[in-house]
């Protein structure tokens, strides 16, 4: 079980009562995100599809590694890691 810091982006802070970062324990990114969903109602709906995958327009990094380039939600974490949740920003005329 590892203790990590999860960085919450501005658009999701209404769900975390304004907290910009949260300390969570877990072994994988998926476990940590599911714990956040249990702690903060509606959190999982914003970032997970059926609790199984990260939504297409959300990016999750462990330190500087995008979990899509690793093992997605099965990506393991170590104590002291930082998980950053970032909206995918796109648009155009």
């Amino acid at each position: 079980m590892s203790s990590v810091t999860v960085k919450i982006p501005t658009p999701l802070r209404t769900l975390t009562y304004g907290q910009a970062e949260v300390k969570v324990e877990g072994a994988t990114v998926g476990e940590i995100l599911r714990k956040l969903d249990a702690q903060f109602r509606g959190f999982g709906d914003r970032i997970l599809d059926d609790g199984k995958n990260v939504k297409r327009f959300v990016n999750v990094f462990v330190n500087e590694d995008n979990i899509r380039d690793k093992q997605d939600l099965d990506t393991e974490v170590q104590t002291g890691d930082t998980i950053s949740i970032l909206p995918s920003i796109a648009g155009g005329k």
């Binding site: 658009p11 950053s84 796109a90």
Partner: protein, 141 residues
Amino acid sequence: MITIPTSLLRQIYDHTEASYPYECCGLMIGTMGQDKTVHAFRRCKNLNTVRANHRYDMDPLYMLRVEREFESSPWDIIGIYHSHPDHPSRPSQTDTDRGWPDYSYVIISVQQGTVAGAQSWVLDEGQRKFDEEPLITGDSK
């Protein structure tokens, strides 16, 4: 309401004009409360090189690095700016589909290579539409 110091807005305009006829994007960093104030901005890479004249995709790794750059400051990423070459500064359907709540989206219309105007928008997530917010320019206090 969002306040952008005149000098910063001019630099953002410079980015949009230099990128013409392609779209460009960047992050606005500052304070967020009932009103927002921009204290810094960072240009970001448009990953959409195939349709760059009418689409932008911000590099997520660069966004992460900007977040890290300011994590020990009292400031946050509070919004995004992007340009609409030869198009009004109103959100498109693509902007609306891909928008996030709480961020300010400043859209800059660039006509024939010169900035023609800018407006700021905030997504009403429930209605899934953008509402305009006042964009105030002036020297920061």
